[in-house]
Symmetry: C2
Subunit: 576 residues, 2 copies
């Protein structure tokens, strides 16, 4: 939005009528933590003034509360399995008017093209989508991702106005040991006066000093208040994360105190479709925090002005003259129920219903070939899953309900083909799908619970190859090929038939349909997965997806085999 | 200072020894408003870490307090009548490690050359000098300044890293009425993502909304807490000003409360030589505030991290890893007495004594001809002060002790030549001195008190022409010519002799000697002025200097005559 300063000034003075006046509002003042009474005058998408105003259009709020639109300081949109435009449709009715996203997932699939796709497909929405550039693609050099992003490739994106910095620097180990490529990425961001977000669970003491001295200005991985306060004292902004996969709100409640809240933000990191629909977004975090005893105005400041301040977004996060008119209307600070959402001064949502058309991004197959056709993989056969090694022992990945951590167990290799359904040992495979290398890692998993059939997914962190777990090679091939034919997504097969699929054609990560369609499909498929035996407490898709991430202990599987995370080396599946 | 990231990280981890460790410190944490105990490790001029460290050099602070260096958010260095290097010598021992200056005075004399001179002569000091560009040169189109600065001329300075924005937008009247040139200057700053400082005493309600909507993000002219809180609520940062000319601290004490202090800064605006010597700088404001009941840690935050945050200076204002090691050591939070000052990690002052050489700026007459030779004026004769108009009445400017406001009085014109010493009516004249136009405005003044002789000054706000007040034309010419021969400064003449002069050869505003030399001269000259009769409560030089500023009511004198400020028109001195 380009400011017509003269018009805005005239409207602020009352020399001309405002476009819109929200009358009789109780206005959240994030600067003084107060509620003021008055009108909010809006002109050309900006707030002209607070006071008494006349407008071409007026809405009498009858004492309802006006508050700045919410900002999610850290989210991976891909985790919602919907495109940016569909994501906007899902979160705008909840009062979110800006997010800062890290397109880490699609960058692992499609590299620079993936980042460009997210930038382009997130324009002109009633949601401002800002970007932090993925700092760790691939997550580990061991893995076969679709792309590798070095500092030069990232650097070209800093010219884009919506790119605010370098996203979560997950490799804190490498950072404090001065890994050349990480230092180059940090310098690339600092030279452009951009921010660097952190990701360093448990980092403390001198290593924390070193990480911060390197320029890492935030953290969203704190799981205790003590950890968060140490980081805050050393200068980091703390992003209190409450999403689908990780939920740190309860542990971090002390940070809502006046003493700390000024340097805290609220973020979701990952938010799955069902949680977006049934819980909401930042509005839900605020309500959860307040229910747990947090000061609602502090929570609102974290979700508005603090995020804007941290990211250097000077004209948002407050209801004040000159600020972008991203505003929401609520009735109760203690139970946030967003009644109206104004984006750039336009009513875009009312009582949970969008009031503005959101057009889908126009497909451009030439420009985004790697996004729309991210599968580069021959047809899979059941032969691909045969394990030819021989030996007396079998190494098995053990899933644990409610955890992303896995364990390693060693069992006798006494079954033909290795699968032992009675003892819950089935096959798991990761098929390279970006470069048609033919690499397939095959291993065993326990704890998943599947008694019949196979489940496949192209969402498989962080490289997003094709992962499939199954009781037999035929169903595994069927499920894998179903995903392959859809050029991405999820599939369940059993008894030689494909039972269900969810197509995720955008990079194999996101659907091109809406969040309800995706959630309906997920509900159906999760029920089927349970019917096929998947253990309670194990998410049929999310837990499976993380089994491919060789940075979380103990045992993972990638395209070239099973990996011992502690040693970062391959471990034989069958051995003596 | 260019960061060697790898070295800093290694020092932070303790893998290499720090350059310097301040041991056993009590460290002011501006993020949490706490005092922590520990060591501060410094490497290459940056803070590496807080904790326990070993250094090549170690200083045991034995529990003394370490605090970030102070930042003055708004000062006109010219008002101290000394060059930037001499200014640094004066303020660094008081713990000031950065100032944001508005070279408004010298810009009125020498335009772009004046700004460049201040930029160049303030490099490589143990004080970081940042700039806001003077927004109102000349202060009013009526006046004859040495230069006019339009938006294009200002625009070229935004490339300079130390230029942070547009300085105090004094013309709030024109701003809220969309004056074209002001709007252009605002857009120039906003387009470069720079800040805009305000100056709008008493502005309130819709005009305030308009001024802020225009992008003006701060104010330093608040004289009541009510005024300050209104501006703060609307989004401005409040600069609490406590200098020589204006002192708002007492009135603004409520802003030191937790509720407001987060968006407040401490500034001096103008600080005369004697006040720098005898009071100090920001250290003095903090002590004054604390003595009046303010929370010392809040006061320190205002003087450090808040200023840094407002001006977007990301790596200063805190004792934290990665921050510039601008640090001071004190013993008592309630009575700030700066014992040690570290600039970029080097001890530059101890117990009030500089510990580092500060070189003077190398004279470059070709590059800064308009600064070093700012007088363009023929010799003055007593004839120049003769008033030839006839009439029965005389219009007289009335000075008021302790005020910058003047009044207008009309008296019978019944004395030969107009001067009436018995009734305290003497002559006052402003001589154009930039462009040799020959313009001389001559009028009368009462309340100054001079009984004998004449006093002249080339410091005459804001255009800094040559102002002279006297009881007779001969002494007036003598005093004026003494200033002219020095190419700027102050002079006192009586009984046909020059009694004293202070040479201010840098633009006619600043001395090239140190603050003690200037203050000694001022003390002598002020005593002489009193001996010649200057009224108690009237500053012989400051009050005189403001008599030339045609924006403060009621009557002023400029190069073309006496001005009625309310109507912005010339008023005849002798009339019927």
């Amino acid at each position: 939005v380009d400011k017509d300063l003269k018009k805005l000034i005239a409207a602020a003075r009352g020399d001309i009528r405002a476009d819109l006046v929200l009358r009789n509002a109780r206005i959240v003042n994030v600067f003084t933590k107060e509620i003021e009474e008055g009108d909010v005058a809006i002109c050309d998408g900006f707030i002209a003034g607070i006071g008494q105003y006349v407008g071409d259009m007026e809405i009498d709020l009858k004492g309802k509360i006006v508050c700045p639109g919410f900002i999610d300081g850290h989210i991976h949109i891909e985790s919602s399995m919907i495109s940016p435009s569909e994501f906007a449709k899902a979160v705008v009715p909840h009062g979110t008017t800006a997010v800062i996203t890290d397109p880490h997932e699609i960058a692992n699939v499609a590299g620079e093209e993936g980042i460009s796709f997210m930038l382009d497909s997130s324009r002109d929405l009633p949601l401002d989508v800002f970007f932090m550039l993925p700092s760790c693609v691939p997550a580990t050099p061991l893995d076969e991702s679709g792309a590798i992003l070095n500092s030069d490739q990232l650097g070209q994106f800093y010219n884009e106005e919506r790119v605010l910095g370098l996203a979560e620097l997950m490799n804190s180990y490498g950072t404090v040991r001065c890994d050349e490529e990480i230092i180059a990425k940090i310098k690339g961001a600092v030279d452009q006066d951009k921010r660097i977000d952190g990701h360093a669970p448990g980092l403390t003491g001198k290593d924390l000093n070193a990480y911060i001295a390197a320029g890492v200005m935030s953290d969203h991985e704190c799981s205790t208040a003590e950890e968060a306060i140490e980081k805050l004292k050393r200068g980091q902004y703390i992003m209190i994360r409450q999403g689908t996969a990780a939920r740190n709100l309860k542990a971090l409640l002390p940070l809502f105190d006046d003493k700390y809240c000024g340097r805290c933000l609220l973020v979701t990191d990952d938010k799955h479709p069902g949680d977006l629909i049934y819980q909401g977004h930042i509005d839900h975090i605020i309500t959860e925090a307040v229910t747990s005893g947090a000061d609602p105005l502090n929570a609102i400041r974290m979700a508005t002005i603090n995020a804007a301040t941290y990211f250097g977004l000077k004209d948002r996060g407050a209801v004040a003259p000159g600020y972008i008119a991203d505003l929401i209307v609520i009735s109760d600070l203690n139970d946030i129920n967003v009644e109206k959402v104004f984006k750039n001064g336009t009513l875009v949502s009312e009582d949970g219903n969008l009031r503005t058309p959101i057009r889908s991004f126009e497909r451009d197959e030439d420009k985004y070939r790697r996004v729309y056709h991210s599968f580069n993989l021959r047809e899979i056969t059941s032969e691909d899953f045969v394990i030819r090694e021989t030996g007396s022992k079998k190494r098995v990945i053990k899933m644990i309900p409610g955890e992303l951590l896995t364990e390693e167990i060693i069992v006798p290799n006494d079954k033909e083909g290795g699968v032992d359904i009675d003892n819950d040992i089935i096959k798991i495979a990761v098929i390279e799908r970006h470069k048609n290398t033919g690499h397939i890692g095959v291993g065993f998993v326990t704890g998943y619970g599947l008694k019949k059939g196979a489940i496949a997914s192209s969402v498989a962190h962080d490289s997003h190859n094709l992962i499939v777990a199954g009781t037999n090679d035929i169903d595994m091939a069927l499920a894998a090929n179903a995903v392959r034919e859809n050029e991405g997504g999820l599939a369940i097969a059993a008894d030689g038939k494909v039972l269900s699929t969810l197509s995720l054609p955008l990079g194999g990560l996101m659907c091109d349909k809406d969040v309800f369609f995706v959630e309906d499909a997920l509900i159906t498929m999760k029920r089927q997965a349970r019917e096929l035996g998947v253990t309670k407490g194990v998410d049929p898709f999310m837990t499976l997806a993380f089994t491919a991430l060789p940075v979380i202990p103990k045992l993972r599987i990638i395209t070239k085999g099973v990996v011992d995370v502690d040693t970062q080396s391959y471990a034989p599946v069958i051995f003596d």
